[in-house]
């Protein structure tokens, strides 16, 4: 048996989640339901859930502020949101699982399965929440099959497409992530990364020169530039 708590201000969402979980899992017990921070704070510590399904928008505040107010975070988290672009970006940055309304049964199942297998790390979670609240994206979390990588953005030299996957090349290591280059482009474009080529995206801060059709990075690596993008890239680099 695993214990699930549902914190959402929409009654319909709570009903749908309960019904879906009952259909998908036979060993699932809904131990708590709340629509507000106030109610959730009161119920959660006694309910001791394994997994909390938490909406970002609650009646009396945000889901993040509830987490900050809880004494213990000894559960796995799955966020829920109807439409909160900022929160969604934060989830992606931190490789957190989240569900979008209306709930897709397979996404729910995926998220629950992953949560059951993972190990909760309270400290990490608290740091993440703090970062999200402060709107700081200094770090990106990349989960691979066997490891969670916490990578500082300043350490990333470039990203390279690898079929449906992407390689993240830092000063010390190369990580193969299970997301494509477009996924990282969406995330990192606002953080000073430039897509120079169909297969490459570089960290603008580490560019030292443009030579012929390549960008020279601080470690003397040459990254190709597609001729179509030459002018655009030169303009972008000239901005600083």
């Amino acid at each position: 048996m695993f214990r699930v708590a549902i914190i959402d201000d929409e009654k319909n969402v709570r009903i749908v989640l309960k019904k879906l979980l009952n259909i998908l899992y036979t060993n699932c017990e809904i131990v708590a339901e709340a629509a507000s921070i106030k109610d959730a704070k009161a119920i959660l510590p006694q309910a001791k859930p394994d997994i909390v399904l938490l909406d970002i928008e609650l009646e009396d505040g945000s889901g993040f502020s509830l987490l900050k107010q809880l004494p213990n975070l000894d559960f796995k988290l799955i966020f829920i949101t109807a439409f909160n672009q900022y929160a969604i970006k934060a989830f992606k940055f931190n490789a957190l699982d989240y569900l979008l309304k209306p709930i897709d049964p397979s996404e729910l199942q995926n998220a629950i399965d992953k949560a059951q297998k993972s190990v909760s790390n309270e400290n990490e979670l608290r740091k993440l929440i703090a970062d999200i609240e402060n709107k700081k994206n200094s770090q990106i979390v990349i989960k691979t099959t066997n490891k969670i990588h916490y990578i500082n953005l300043v350490d990333i030299l470039y990203c390279q497409a690898e079929g449906a996957y992407a390689k993240i090349i830092t000063k010390t290591e190369t990580i193969l992530a299970s997301k494509n280059l477009k996924y990282f482009q969406d995330l990192l474009e606002d953080e000073g990364f430039i897509r120079t080529h169909q297969s490459y995206m570089v960290n603008k801060k580490l560019v030292t020169a443009i030579k012929n059709d390549t960008i020279i990075l601080s470690n003397a690596l040459a990254i190709p530039i597609s001729s179509r993008k030459m002018a655009e890239i030169k303009a972008l680099l000239a901005e600083d």
């Binding site: 319909n12 969402v13 019904k19 928008e57 009646e59 109807a82 439409f83 309304k101 209306p102 709930i103």
Partner: protein, 562 residues
């Protein structure tokens, strides 16, 4: 635009015909053409002829006439070298035309000019040629003239015999064709040549002939009188001399030629002295001196007039230059002014266009914002979840109708947002859809009512779309949703002629107790902007107050609807 084209066409047509009329090619007679060539003064005439020659191409005849006239004018100005050049051009043209009369005339004038320059050989050639042509075409007048000229040249060579022969021949012709004035002149000339050759008797005879002829035709010419008088003077026949000179004096006094009068008095004085008639001499001296004085005065007058004329000319020229300068100055000022105005105009147009564009853009942005507030994604996804929930109720008819209603709501939103105005009934229909979708979401947590005043026909009145919706959404999301008990939402629409009053009343938790205020303020901001674009001042009458009777909020606004 078309009219302007017509006017332009007319002007062009007018100019064309006008220009055509003034084209010299159309001037038919030689006299008209020569009159056309001439200007106020000789110098101006030459300039005019030059510019005409430059701008037009003419027939040989007209070209000939042009240079013929120019040569004559140059001759008058004593610019004989240039005159000869012009006459030669005229001659070429007339020769091309084979116009014998003008070839002869031109040769005559060439001869005169050459003679003036003492090129007697050349002069002789031209005049002989002219003579042969005049003879050929039986132009007697011309022939006589040519003979006279030949006589003059022979006289220059001191070949008096030959000279007399020519002039006599001329006189013969003149007698034939009854040219009395010219004949008189010829007789006088013959007399003069004879006098120079020493044949005073024959000279006197011809002078007398001239005098008689002049008398006959009342020609006021004192020349033969004086000439004959002088012959008598030289022969010491003072009485005869005096009588002739006094006759001459009478003529000259009539004609007012002072210089000749002076000369006459000079001869009379000498004659009186030689005759020892001193009383007469004193009289002539006084007379001569008075004439001299008059002559000097008149000469001075003429000189002064000349100076005055020159002064006037210079001032006129100066004025002209000044006017030209002023003109350029004015032109410059005008150009600058016009330029400035044009620039200003363009600037204003651009500004207007920009402001218009800005307004358009503002409207577009506003439209988008309206759409976003109406189609609050949060509402959309939560509403979809509500529909999702009904699916678990195993009532497919109900679920499907909810879904359809939601689709209709979205469709209405997309449809209305671009419209300036829609029917009140359409707007209220969309609003009902919205409220009922919200009711589904909150499982009938509130009841609602829309009350329209009896006098209002919602299928006739038009309003800007979806003005009410943001306040209804506010009432539901922030007033009624957090409320624990069942609430009510009331929309009242009343009117006082064209002014419509809209009230959205809820009994929710009230504005002071609501969590987030930014969304609401944002919505109000957009609402007010939309009203301000209508420029009726309606945005100033908006109010949002707490319900004083029970909890909740009242939103009131007025619209001026025609």
């Amino acid at each position: 635009m078309k009219q302007i084209n017509y006017i332009g066409l007319l002007i062009i047509l007018f100019c064309f015909t006008y220009c055509k009329n003034s084209t010299p090619e159309n001037i038919q007679s030689d006299e008209d053409f020569i009159a056309f060539l001439n200007d106020e003064t000789l110098i101006k005439s030459i300039k005019r002829i030059d510019s005409i020659a430059k701008l037009n191409t003419y027939s040989n005849h007209k070209t000939g006439l042009l240079y013929f006239e120019k040569g004559q004018i140059l001759g008058h100005l004593e610019k004989d070298i240039e005159a000869i050049a012009s006459f030669k051009k005229a001659l070429v043209a007339f020769e091309k035309e084979s116009n014998k009369k003008y070839i002869a005339k031109t040769n005559m004038l060439l001869g005169d000019s050459e003679a003036f320059l003492s090129n007697n050989e050349k002069a002789l050639q031209h005049i002989e040629k002219a003579l042969s042509i005049f003879k050929d075409i039986e132009d007697k007048k011309g022939e006589a003239k040519a003979l006279n000229s030949l006589g003059h040249i022979a006289f220059q060579y001191e070949n008096y015999k030959k000279s007399i022969a020519y002039v006599k021949k001329a006189a013969e012709i003149q007698l034939q064709i009854d040219e009395k004035e010219e004949l008189s002149a010829s007789y006088n000339n013959i007399g003069y040549i004879l006098e120079q050759s020493g044949d005073l008797i024959n000279a006197s005879e011809y002078y007398q002939k001239a005098i008689d002829l002049n008398k006959n035709i009342n020609r006021l010419n004192s020349s033969p009188l004086r000439n004959l008088g002088y012959v008598f003077f030289m022969q010491n026949q003072f009485k005869k001399c005096d009588s002739l000179y006094l006759k001459a004096l009478k003529i000259e006094e009539e004609a007012g030629r002072l210089s000749i009068q002076k000369e006459i008095y000079g001869v009379l004085l000498e004659s009186a002295i030689k005759n020892k008639s001193f009383d007469a001499a004193t009289l002539y001296i006084t007379k001569r001196d008075s004439i001299n004085e008059r002559l000097v005065t008149s000469e001075n007058k003429e000189k002064i007039k000349l100076i005055e004329d020159q002064y006037n000319l210079i001032t006129k020229e100066k004025e002209l230059i000044q006017a030209k300068k002023n003109n350029t100055k004015n032109k410059l000022i005008f150009t600058i002014l016009a330029g400035t105005l044009l620039f200003l105009g363009l600037f204003l147009i651009q500004k207007h266009r920009n402001s218009k564009l800005k307004l358009e853009q503002e409207k577009l942005v506003l439209e988008q914002k309206v759409l976003r507030t109406q189609m609050n994604p949060h509402f959309i996804f939560n509403a979809l979840t509500a529909i999702q929930k009904t699916i678990f109720d195993n009532d497919p008819i109900k679920s499907t109708s909810y879904l359809s209603r939601f689709a209709k709501l979205i469709r209405q939103n997309f449809e209305f947002v671009n419209k300036k105005e829609i029917l009140l009934s359409e707007d209220l229909d969309a609003l009902k859809n919205y409220i009922e979708t919200q009711q589904l979401r909150f499982s009938n947590k509130f009841d609602y009512a829309i009350n329209i005043h009896d006098g209002i026909d919602p299928t006739f009145v038009k309003i800007p779309p979806m003005l009410l919706q943001p306040f209804v959404e506010n009432a539901i999301e922030h007033g009624l949703k957090p409320k624990t008990e069942k609430g009510t939402l009331e929309i009242n629409i009343t009117n006082n002629s064209n002014v419509f009053c809209f009230k959205i009343i809820d009994d929710g938790i009230g504005i002071n107790n609501q969590e987030s205020k930014t969304n609401r303020e944002h919505a109000i901001d957009i609402f007010k902007k939309r009203l301000s674009l209508r420029k009726l001042g309606e945005e100033k009458q908006f109010s949002m107050t707490s319900n004083k009777v029970k909890t909740g909020t009242i939103v009131t606004f007025y619209l001026n609807l025609s």
